[in-house]
Symmetry: C2
Subunit: 107 residues, 2 copies
């Protein structure tokens, strides 16, 4: 935890540096520090088939183009939207990013 990382907002950055300081001063432990790190990540949740479709339609793209953005096959997108299969780990991360920041953010 030596390097100061880049944060989106000034506030988040300031809070993080304060926490880092508290850690270095021994006031909070490594465990708490890691939990703090994790709390900074975009929250990830499951997506229903309709939510996935709504997300894609919000971005105005076809299943094929959406698939290209996720680096996945078009068949998979179709399967997600029909509830035949459900997106897993890394796919959920990408969907969450798109939901919060838009398709362009992972372009």
């Amino acid at each position: 935890m030596k390097k100061t990382k880049a944060y989106r907002s000034e506030a988040a950055s300031a809070i993080y540096e304060t926490a880092t300081g508290l850690f270095e001063a021994g006031i909070i432990d490594k465990q708490t520090m890691r939990e703090f790190d994790e709390s900074c990540l975009t929250p990830i949740h499951e997506f229903t088939p309709s939510q996935i479709r709504a997300l894609r339609e919000r971005e105005q793209v076809s299943q094929t183009v959406f698939a290209h953005h996720l680096n996945i096959s078009k068949d998979s997108i179709s399967q997600w939207e029909r509830g035949e299969k459900r997106p897993a780990g890394p796919s959920l991360k990408l969907l969450s990013l798109i939901e919060r920041k838009g398709l362009a953010s992972i372009a």
Copy 2:
């Protein structure tokens, strides 16, 4: 392709809007337009085990924290770095994003 999307640079945005105009005017076809869209995506390539480890170490995080960022298990990161398994579709997309824009960009 009705909505104007957000682009990182002014230049890219301008070029894109010009292309959109050409498409709407019927000068370039939908196929060309989609290929243009795809050319805007971050290039994705395979990663060797050492490249993955180097990438993680560049970001100064443990396998566990790295795993949290990718929404994947720590075991998988270890397997990638030892060449026991290789990251697939969506995982490669995330690794490419980290490589080009840093860990914070997918936080």
